[in-house]
């Protein structure tokens, strides 16, 4: 298809139910009340010339190009700021309007460089288009003073700012304010001196508060703000709608292409998760896809001390199959296992778990959700009956109180954070939602432009359950529970038991304050606000799940939502913010060792027989090993082979020393990935993977939205990932013959009741579907548990606070908690291979000034971070974002390997690691630790390829 930018209606859509009919250029049009004349015209196919208007931001009325004539009105009102009225008669093209518009354009062009032929936006410039649209042929002014020749700002790695081309329309400023909510940009000076500025006059874009979401670039009607890639490559020639492969928000993008070359990723306005917005990762950080360190040929080696040897695919599959057979014959079938990836598609994860269950003959399959959201699966299935969040993202628009616990959405889920912030700021006279943040750190959302949390509860890490129980205590003992909802929707006896428990004096905020370190009055006020403030919505992340009581915390959250009636309608709910793009999907697809697709236990003979009949095999009715159990079994010498797709357990999983011991004890580690990641240091077979740009499939985001991933270029490694798994299965003798991922989805739909109505054809038709998609809900289910819980009655579970076994003491007096930063993603395998390193080149240790002073540590100093599990070094960042006694770091860099320090304590129900609580000590350091030095040497040795060229 020829390239066309997405249609711009000029002003935002009106959501009014009231219809208004009017006439524009002699044609009748009916639109919702509140629609602008400009948009009404656009909807009937009439493009009124415009420059300062774009449909992502509110109308502004500054450019005076969109003037129209309206019967009965004096003058020529701006169509962008004029709402439609019943019976209105509008003319968009008259000699008078043409003259006015031409005059306006003449003024604009008189102060614009006429370098269209060499301009990066040539052919994709609204100023150029409008000059053509109004028939401008000449500029009569002999301008002496212009804005031309100003210095360009190239500081941002992804886009340039050329003030000489700016028409001062403010679209970039308004996009930053209204869409992104960072308010980084401003108009400096007045009148003739007006100039877009990224903060202070001394700031360039890189040095400013700009978060590089790209909203300003997208809004710019000229080449003032333009992607460097467009400057380098030229304008795109075609586009394909696809889904981002970063976080669990699941933004829809147009991959804009030139041949097989990706020119830019532009957020798709019809994307239901992102509604036309993006973040620095999805918008810009895709350079890893063509990074020189990508491995494109399969490689094998007998021992991890050998260099790699490149082989053809056929040899790789034959060798892999023979190794797996040898190990199965020697040690038994239970010595094999696999790990699916939340970065891969539903179809790919489904095939990997199928390979394990049907091919390896056991249930030793797990997924990286084990180390992030497995407690969500357990907790929400127990309480509500479904292992998933209850809402769609749009729901936040109707929230009155937003409670964020253990999540840092502006860094981890930035596009949804922008939507949340929009609601928190309030809009069009509607007051903003109230905000409660429960987090040991003062995350950015606690206080940001026009947003200030009513309550920030900076709890001691590891005390989530105590805080939530104390909140429940307040709600029940102060009579704030919605008992009518509970009586109708939940098991009353279970509620009564729970209410009696939380009401006990030992669970009062005052009694728990010494444990949680949360001010009792503040906690009481927060609980009252959540219970009585209208629609209350809870959003949570890994700060909830990655604890020894992760599952209990999820259930405590569910208890609060049920007790206050905040379930089953828009604006409320329990919303896990998923870390990776397809965490939800990987879990849905039967990646857990105890569950088949659709969360049916492997011991359920009815469910099992469905799969057995379809696959023509007998399945083991016993649950298999989880990732940590696999590693334990490997150390014990009974688990010998692992197929690891798209996952880097050596860097991402806790207690690196234990992970490496487990991997080193295996005889066949198969890594299927884009790069020689850290796990590959212990691998015997490397199968090169394909990027999300090189394959077809689907991802399922945090709102259960199944979205298409579309192949926009040929896989550089020659095969899509599902093909690799299929060919491996074939080499093992399995009769698999999928010709397209759509056939895999058909199988998933056939075997999974909640996916019954899902197919690629249906997804192409409607864009996306939120499961359950069934006969009763053929268009999917944006909101769950509307008339009743999936499990029948909502279940209250008593969640008694149990302190973690990870204790501070004289040797390790501080608590380390870990997290993410906006510019990096997970273990950094992708983002470290992009220009995003400009923002976060290394992991830093945040430490409170008091703790830093006690240890003589200053910002920028190298410090040793030691725990009972291990030690590493990194540089300190002294900040009061963390409370005294708490230190914080990210885990994006392999050099730091924060998980050398984390322990293998885990959630009691799911074995999700307790990443968020590690007792540590900080001391001055003058160099890398022994572990870091040894590991660096191992990495160098392990990455040798026989060609003699190191791959990383």
């Amino acid at each position: 298809m020829t390239y066309q930018p997405q249609k711009d209606f000029g002003t935002p859509e009106s959501r009014s139910d009231e219809a208004v009919s009017l006439t524009i250029d002699g044609r009748n049009v009916t639109v919702p009340a509140g629609t602008s004349v400009m948009r009404a015209a656009a909807e009937q196919g009439t493009a009124i010339p415009k420059l300062c208007a774009t449909d992502s931001v509110k109308s502004y009325g500054s450019c005076r190009l969109c003037l129209v004539e309206i019967d009965g009105r004096r003058g020529t009102p701006a169509s962008c700021t004029t709402p439609v009225e019943p019976g209105m008669v509008v003319r968009t093209q008259t000699p008078q309007l043409a003259k006015l518009r031409k005059g306006v354009m003449e003024l604009y062009i008189s102060d614009h460089p006429l370098d269209c032929l060499t301009c990066a936006a040539n052919g994709d410039c609204e100023l150029q288009d409008q000059a053509g649209a109004v028939g401008l042929r000449d500029v009569r002014y002999d301008v002496q003073e212009t804005h031309l020749g100003q210095e360009k700002d190239h500081s941002n790695p992804y886009f340039d700012f050329d003030p000489s081309k700016c028409i001062a329309c403010s679209r970039c400023i308004r996009a930053c304010d209204e869409v992104q909510g960072t308010l980084a940009l401003t108009m400096e000076g007045r009148g003739w001196d007006s100039k877009i500025s990224a903060g202070f006059a001394s700031d360039n874009f890189m040095g400013s508060e700009c978060v590089s979401c790209g909203a300003c670039v997208q809004a710019c009607p000229t080449a003032t703000l333009v992607e460097k890639k467009v400057v380098e490559v030229g304008t795109p020639e075609r586009s394909v709608v696809t889904t981002c492969a970063y976080c669990g928000v699941g933004c829809t993008f147009r991959a804009e292409m030139r041949g097989e070359q990706l020119v830019r990723m532009v957020p798709y306005k019809d994307g239901k998760a992102n509604r036309g917005h993006s973040c620095v990762k999805g918008r810009f950080a895709w350079g890893y896809a063509q990074h020189q360190e990508r491995i494109l040929k399969p490689m094998i080696r007998k021992s991890i001390s050998d260099p790699w040897r490149e082989v053809e695919w056929d040899e790789a599959f034959a060798y892999t199959a023979s190794e797996l057979k040898r190990i199965s014959d020697t040690y038994g079938r239970n010595a094999l296992g696999g790990i699916t990836s939340s970065r891969c598609t539903n179809e790919e994860t489904f095939l990997v778990q199928k390979l394990v269950r049907a091919g390896f003959g056991n249930n030793n399959v797990d997924t990286c959700a084990r180390v992030c959201h497995s407690p969500t699966g357990y907790g929400l299935k127990t309480t509500f009956g479904t292992s998933a969040g209850t809402q769609d993202f749009d729901s936040v628009e109707d929230s009155d109180v937003i409670l964020i616990i253990g999540a840092n959405p502006t860094d981890g889920h930035p596009v949804f954070a922008s939507r949340m912030k929009r609601r928190l700021r309030g809009q069009d006279g509607r007051p903003g939602a109230k905000l409660i943040v429960i987090d040991p750190r003062r995350t950015d959302i606690v206080r940001s432009p026009h947003i200030e949390a009513q309550h920030h509860l900076p709890l001691r890490p590891g005390t989530n359950v105590a805080v939530l129980t104390a909140m429940a205590h307040v709600i029940v003992t102060e009579g704030l529970a919605d008992e009518a909802f509970v009586r109708e929707r939940c098991d009353w006896d279970e509620y009564s038991h729970w209410a009696e428990f939380v009401s006990q004096a030992r669970n009062s905020p005052e009694n728990l304050q010494p444990v949680t370190l949360v001010d009792a009055d503040e906690l009481r006020a927060a609980a009252r606000l959540y219970a009585t403030g209208g629609n209350g919505a809870i959003y949570y992340g890994l700060g909830v799940t990655e604890h020894s009581q992760g599952s209990s915390t999820v259930m405590a959250i569910a208890n609060l939502a049920m007790a206050t009636g905040n379930i089953g309608r828009r604006g409320v709910g329990v919303n896990p913010l998923r870390g990776q793009n397809n965490v939800q999907g990987a879990c849905d697809m039967g990646s857990f060792p105890h569950e088949l697709a659709g969360y049916r236990h492997i011991s359920d003979s009815n469910a099992r027989s469905l799969f057995e009949n379809d696959w023509g095999v007998t399945l083991d009715p016993e649950p298999g090993l989880r990732i940590p159990n696999m590693l334990d079994a490997a150390v014990d010498g009974v688990f010998k082979a692992l197929y690891c797709q798209g996952e880097d357990i050596l860097q991402s999983d806790p207690n690196t020393a234990h992970v490496s011991a487990g991997l080193a004890a295996m005889e066949c580690v198969i890594v299927h990935d884009l790069f020689l990641n850290e796990t590959a240091n212990y691998a015997h077979i490397f199968l090169p993977g394909s990027t999300f740009l090189e394959k077809n499939g689907t991802f399922t985001n945090a709102e259960r939205r199944i979205q298409p991933v579309r192949k926009v270029m040929t896989p550089m490694n020659g095969l899509e990932d599902w093909e690799v798994t299929q060919k491996l299965a074939q080499a093992m003798g399995l009769d698999w013959n999928y010709s397209h991922p759509s056939e895999i989805m058909d199988e998933i739909a056939r075997l999974t009741p909640t996916f019954a109505g899902v197919s690629f054809a249906r997804l192409d038709e409607v864009g996306s579907l939120q499961w359950p998609v069934t006969e009763d809900a053929p268009d999917g289910s944006p909101i769950m548990h509307i008339d009743g819980f999936v499990r029948g009655k909502g279940k209250f579970v008593v969640t008694d606070y149990v302190p973690t076994d990870e204790k501070t003491g004289p040797r390790f007096p501080l608590l380390l908690t870990t997290g993410r930063i906006l510019s990096q993603y997970n273990v950094g395998a992708q983002t470290r291979r992009t220009e995003n390193v400009a923002w976060h080149p290394e992991d830093l240790l945040e430490i409170h000034p008091v703790d830093a002073e006690d240890r003589g540590v200053k910002s920028g100093d190298w410090v040793k971070l030691a725990s009972r599990a291990g030690e590493t070094t990194l540089r300190a960042d002294v900040t009061d974002r963390v409370a005294p006694g708490v230190v914080y770091t990210t885990f994006h860099h392999a050099v730091t390997q924060a998980n050398v320090v984390t322990t293998d304590y885990s959630d009691w129900a799911t074995n999700c690691p307790e990443y968020k609580v590690t007792a540590v000590q900080i001391s001055a350091s003058n160099g890398p630790t022994e572990w870091q030095e040894e590991y660096e040497a191992l990495s160098a040795r392990s990455r040798r390829v026989e060609t003699g060229i190191a791959s990383e």
Binding site: P593, H601, E622, P623, G624, N629, D805, D904, A909
Partner: protein, 70 residues
């Protein structure tokens, strides 16, 4: 900790968290039956109840009995 010590720790942790259940030993037994692979179960049966909390020990006994057809 070695694998058996880890299993003991896990069983005790499950027992502590399910202690408020109406039938805690049965709840722990059900949890282990649902989520542990056969080798892990065998290992803890073989180990016996040493180091286990009373609830965890009762749960393991329940499971072992069921396994042995008891």
């Amino acid at each position: 900790m070695n694998s058996v010590e880890r299993l003991i720790h896990m069983a005790n942790q499950i027992a502590t968290n399910l202690a408020t259940d109406a039938a805690p030993a049965a709840a722990v037994a059900d949890h282990i039956q649902t989520f542990w692979d056969p080798r892990m179960k065998k290992m803890i049966f073989a180990h016996g109840t040493d180091g286990l909390s009373p609830i965890a020990a009762a749960a393991i006994s329940l499971l072992a009995d069921a396994q042995n057809g008891g």
